[in-house]
Symmetry: D2
Subunit: 246 residues, 4 copies
């Protein structure tokens, strides 16, 4: 009984990834971004698809001292011998609350189908937030959004999801009289979906992008550490509240 | 008291990464690979540097059903709700035995300095393996090695580390009468060092590359799962050996 | 502004956990199990509660070469310098498919309320499996189940959840004419709920128990490794299926 | 070809752990602490050994809002759907800087052998800190230390390692004229070594203990969250220092 895979294999003389000879067809010819597209979609992206995918990845790589960054830097403080542990710990916080929006937005757009007005009305009635709309920092416009729409238009990749997300935003404004910006995670999700990636994998591209960002923060932590100082300060400001004793 | 960082920041209207406006200077203009270079080295790479860095990342992205891949796929089997957990678990196995060679090779080359013959002789006397030489699958030539050397030469980035690694290989052949190939992890480390990355960060680029590879395996696991079957087979073939009872 | 916590604090002379002096009131007086109860429930358990909690934890600690164990042992193979990475990777697979049943069972029992017959009928009509019933290995009886019920009865801790889980099993047999065993994860969840733990924390006790089990497997991996052999065998039996080239 | 293990196995009717029937010989009869001892040492501990092991585990379970706790709570903030991710992220920071002392102390005592004076002198000359001595908070006495020594004496388990650690402390005072307290991690390591655990596994018991402590913090985070507030405050106080542009 065998374990079948299409991703990669190696023998004495060669390494193969998705049917391509790694050394001769991929190394020096494709970027990491193109390789990531290839291993998930099993075909090479066009130059236009690559440009949009890179824009999305770059848009998701960093947003300052976020919880994933603090987690990675605190972990490095305690376990500098294991860079993989610091990166892994950082990625573990990229869950439903932060980067999950990338996926949630696309699942909402899938469920909405063409009747966006009804889908938005349903969420509003249920008192739920609409995935992809609103951002605690970028309250008027998320600077990533217009840029992704522009690149998607330039490259001709813009499709159903990006169009539907815009319709969601307009429906929300119409129905509430209040305009919320389409946020960067939502537009990233819609663009990735228009690039052909399945919903269950979308969060994975946020993880890939964040790994690049984390390397920058870990390089900085090695030179100008903040992890230990953050801990010491929290420790000093900790207020102990003993539970009632029965 | 503030927490200073150069990596990134955001305000209501803009996001900044390493002093560049994310939307206008980076998205649509740089690749994820260029961004990863930028956040670690704090400057943009040249086109030649980017080409070599992409070649290194592509070379490290996949090598078939390795332990890190099996770990990620088994983790997904048990926790499909958490793609970040599967990626993180996969990366945690990228430690000293497998991807550590990327870093170990550079540390050895640093310690060797110009007297490569003496450094090799010292390791041989001590009965230690020389980092960067030999591979259990690629016994004669690692197909990645000549390709990295060629791209490094073409791009003009080849420097001290790649030269010294070649000298290590030659010294080893001279002293032992037996030729071991320079392996892909070793040449990747030397190329990253010639690109200017510090030793402590090198493993991080292997993690970035492997994250891309893991996305391919997790996409495949969603379609053609092997995790559960691997577990069931091990379970069936497990042989229980009770310890002696006192 | 302060960060308030009731769990623990330390000053020059003492360490406090949940309002108790660690050295004088806890060390030498309470077990790790009692401490785990204390930090979550903010009160000391009775001897009876401790006995049941220990029985639940012991019941969840190991089940042979499961995916979490294989993951931990493969991770150790690649990164022996980081025992914390091997344990963490193992725990990451303890998600919805395996140990999630502990929590899912209790959430189902909560939703069912007193009308267990209707809740079971609803799941059967929807074609869903009922959490806590059935096991791929223990097809007739899960040996842990009767034992937990017996200890819960002996200690007088058995309450609503354990009773309701039994009623679920009986309703399922009545409605289908087919008897499925109550499984060990389900009964563990019901017992933990009767001990007063909230649903969102239940999986945490499975993680605590598995950590103990993983230490045994990692000790064994150091002496009698199987990780590398497992990888090599999968690698030999890997069958490469290149994707169609467009 | 089979995969041999002594830890555990299961068949239709029974589960076995270290040669014991799980349901009948272990559940209801042994504590989680006894089980952890059993799976690593392959024999049941005596009541005295269990008492000391519990005291060590309890001593290591919590020390307030440490980096591992902050990491777990920040991870939960971003990924509340994955309790295993929060626990795993917390454990990943339990590396060489914090809990590594447990292991480092024993390795130092092993290397020192009977000539403790010479070993201490060697470290002092090399300008290295002696593992197990000194604590940033407990500057005069670590409250855990005397308690572990007392319980080890009461239980008759105190052996070579605890004696040698005391000798190290005395040698250090004699040679420097300055007394540093034996710290809680160091004495825990020595006690675990006297209990018969191998150095490479010692960190694992710190991980087990910390898992219990993390459950308390995660329960608290669910009720009285601090993760999001910690992030927002760091974000507000972040000072952006753009790198020089070439």
């Amino acid at each position: 009984m065998s374990f079948e895979t299409s991703v990669g294999t190696a023998d004495a003389d060669s390494i193969t990834v998705m049917g391509r000879d790694l050394a001769n067809e991929l190394m020096g010819r494709v970027s990491l971004t193109e390789l990531a597209f290839l291993v998930v979609q099993r075909r090479m992206p066009s130059a236009e698809e690559t440009r949009l995918l890179d824009a999305v990845l770059v848009s998701l790589a960093d947003h300052g001292l976020t919880p994933t960054v603090l987690t990675a830097r605190l972990t490095y403080t305690g376990a500098p011998e294991s860079l993989q542990g610091a990166v892994a710990a950082g990625l573990l916080g990229a869950g439903s609350v932060f980067l999950g929006v990338v996926e949630d937005t696309v699942r909402f757009l899938d469920a909405a189908g063409d009747d966006v007005e009804a889908a938005v009305a349903g969420e509003l009635e249920a008192g739920r937030r609409i995935p992809g709309l609103g951002h605690p920092v970028h309250r008027v416009e998320d600077p990533r959004t217009a840029r992704i729409y522009a690149i998607a238009a330039e490259t001709g990749v813009a499709g159903t999801y990006l169009a539907r997300l815009r319709a969601v935003s307009e429906a929300h404004t119409n129905q509430t009289g209040r305009r919320l910006p389409v946020n960067g995670a939502g537009v990233a999700g819609a663009a990735l979906a228009d690039l052909g990636f399945p919903p269950a994998l979308l969060r994975g591209f946020a993880l890939l992008a964040r790994t690049a960002g984390l390397l920058g923060h870990l390089a900085e932590e090695m030179q100008s550490p903040i992890g230990m100082r953050l801990y010491r300060e929290v420790d000093e400001r900790a207020k102990y509240a003993p539970p009632a004793r029965e």
